[in-house]
């Protein structure tokens, strides 16, 4: 491999890595607030890409119907549980959040689908269309078992991924899609040519990471989310509702996932089941960062992107094997590092 190819692979690796960064940061956010390792973020990204492609073809995206159906189930569960606990006065609010809001979203997307909108509008629609899914699925799937172990929650998350991939096949079909390029521009750094699309991905990942950092450090809501992650009981004692914090976390995570989906759709062919590897690679990045540390996670996700890029040059069929094999020493090192600091964490 000569230097040119090495540079090319590096650019490629950083680009994929940047996509993983967005997904992995969302995963860490969800994990710290709700203890769920939300593998299906890959599917959320894929749904956003497939929705965008449907909008480009002026089809009604399957997401609209899916969101409506999921909202109906979530509303039914929420209202039943409220009535069972004698909280009838909270029902109107639940109807607004679990039914009216998602229906408004899916209705808008459905109504907008036949028209030829400019690209930014299409992208915004595709992102908004998938936002309600994760919070609603949280209500349906995870909240009834909120006190379960991390392992059980993760098994449920993996099962949820397979369900979502199946539903994706139903809603969008088996065909792979590639959306229109976001930009045709190209930049040159020295003698390295970088496509505008690549630059956009990297800039988006960096700026959303920065936004998230500002959100956590400078807003009361951000601090409340962080507080829920640090001490759930303490948070409840200052009237921070962990379920609501979870919903906000799922919304932010979905936003990041949807953005990453829209960003990669023009450069990679996306299938209904592409979400699994996306989610898994992001997960590996998050693990390298220790699952609780944002800068570490960002670095880990970049590393996974680079590793995958070089690995696919040497042997594309062994790309996944190489990435996951690299995880072993990291996990070993992590487990050694954590057994040493366990006593300090224990209060």
């Amino acid at each position: 491999m000569d230097l040119d190819i090495a540079t090319l692979l590096m650019v490629d690796g950083i680009t994929t890595g940047a996509v993983y960064v967005l997904l992995a940061i969302g995963m860490v956010l969800i994990f710290t607030v709700t203890r769920v390792i939300f593998v299906p973020f890959g599917d959320i990204a894929v749904y956003a890409a497939l929705t965008l492609s449907a909008l480009e073809a002026k089809h009604a995206p399957g997401t609209a119907a899916l969101v409506a159906a999921v909202a109906a189930v979530a509303t039914l569960m929420e209202v039943t549980s409220l009535l069972r606990h004698g909280k009838a006065r909270a029902v109107p609010r639940a109807l607004a959040f679990y039914l009216a809001l998602p229906l408004a979203v899916s209705g808008t997307v459905w109504a907008a689908s036949g028209t030829d909108w400019p690209m930014p509008v299409r992208i915004a629609l595709a992102i908004v269309a998938v936002l309600p899914l994760a919070p609603l699925l949280d209500r349906i799937v995870f909240r009834p078992v909120a006190d379960a172990s991390v392992l059980l929650l993760m098994i449920i998350a993996v099962a949820l991924h397979f369900a979502l991939a199946g539903i994706g096949l139903l809603c969008f079909g088996a065909e792979g899609v590639r959306t229109q390029p976001l930009t045709e521009a190209a930049l040159t750094f020295g003698d390295v040519l970088v496509s505008g699309q690549t630059a956009l991905i990297v800039v988006a990942a960096a700026s959303f990471s920065l936004l998230l950092f500002l959100f956590f450090n400078h807003t009361l809501t951000g601090k409340a989310l962080h507080a829920t992650a640090v001490n759930r009981l303490g948070a409840r004692l200052v009237a921070i509702r962990p379920e609501r914090a979870g919903t906000i976390a799922y919304l932010i995570g979905s936003l990041l996932a949807a953005i990453s989906g829209v960003l990669i759709a023009p450069v990679t062919t996306i299938f209904y089941d592409s979400g699994f590897l996306l989610g898994l690679f992001a997960f590996v990045g998050a693990i390298i960062g220790g699952l609780t540390n944002y800068p570490g996670t960002a670095l880990g996700a970049l590393l996974v992107g680079l590793l995958g890029s070089y690995a696919s040059f040497f042997s594309s069929s062994f790309k996944e094997v190489i990435v996951f094999a690299a995880l072993v020493p990291v996990l070993l090192w992590r487990s050694i590092a954590t057994t040493h600091s366990e006593e300090e964490i224990e209060e």
């Binding site: 606990h85 004698g86 909280k87 009361l220 601090k223 409340a224 962080h226 507080a227 640090v230 001490n231 009981l233 303490g234 948070a235 409840r236 004692l237 200052v238 009237a239 921070i240 509702r241 209060e347």
Partner: protein, 257 residues
């Protein structure tokens, strides 16, 4: 109308009956104290009032039955608990912990800043440590932070679970001075304490809890003179005999734990 009314409260953990039919009331503007030995059910009682554990019986706050109200709503209505374990946000700064204390009311920035100034005036130590992480504070500072965070929500009824736990005598005095000052500021207080003498000296009314049942109650001053209480909780008329290190031996016979 009493601010807090507990009627026939029962808390059980499986077969363990931690609280067995306790009834008590706290009037607005009062400090009420609950004393009792370890395992008497004091913490369980506070948890039940806060809605943190399932319980039977009736709890009314400000005339409202609390049964269908979740913890967060109780806090929003001015019922505030400083728990035995403090439950601070360890990896966040002192200032952020205090800021989050104001979350139940979500007030404007100016109101938050005024609240912060008030807390810093009461606890100058916290002002010095405002950027320090909460989990690096000393025990006394943590206690101050827990109290400060509670005050940021401007509670009407403040429930304190052993605020003097593990503190040096001089800090204990400070804490009780602050508790008395809070009553002057219009906060009603339900105080659970092992430090029975100091608690009864500060409080208006007292309740004695033993193995889940109230065995005695009355004006705090009267309880301080009760011979049975003097014998069991107030350390008798004389200080407890403390084993002394013998001069000749090199190791201490005083149990340092």
């Amino acid at each position: 109308m009493p601010l807090l009314e507990i009627e026939r409260l029962e808390v059980s953990y499986g077969r363990i009956r931690a609280v067995q039919g306790v009834s008590l009331t706290v009037e607005a503007g009062q400090i009420a104290t609950v004393i009792g030995p370890n395992g008497a059910g004091k913490t369980s009682m506070l948890s039940a009032v806060m809605g943190l554990c399932p319980a039977r019986g009736r709890v009314a706050y400000d005339g409202m039955d609390l049964r269908d109200m979740d913890v967060e709503e109780r806090v929003e209505r001015g019922l505030c608990l400083v728990p035995e374990r403090r439950e601070l946000f360890g990896e966040m700064s002192v200032a952020d912990n205090l800021l989050l204390g104001s979350f139940p009311r979500r007030p404007a920035r100016a109101v938050i800043d005024r609240g912060l100034e008030e807390v810093f005036a009461r606890f100058p130590r916290l002002k010095e440590r405002r950027t320090q992480r909460a989990d690096t504070l000393s025990g006394g500072e943590r206690q101050m932070l827990a109290l400060g965070r509670a005050l940021m929500s401007k509670p009407r009824l403040l429930m304190l679970d052993e605020p003097s736990l593990g503190l040096a005598p001089i800090v204990v005095r400070e804490i009780f001075v602050i508790i008395a000052a809070l009553r002057e500021a219009g906060v009603s207080i339900l105080l659970v304490e092992q430090n029975a003498r100091a608690a009864l000296q500060t409080a208006d009314v007292g309740f004695v809890l033993e193995t889940g049942e109230l065995v005695s109650q009355g004006p705090a001053a009267a309880l301080l003179d009760d011979p049975r209480l003097i014998a069991t909780y107030l350390g008798g008329a004389e200080p407890l005999p403390i084993p002394v290190r013998s001069k000749s031996s090199t190791h201490s016979i005083v149990d340092m734990s």
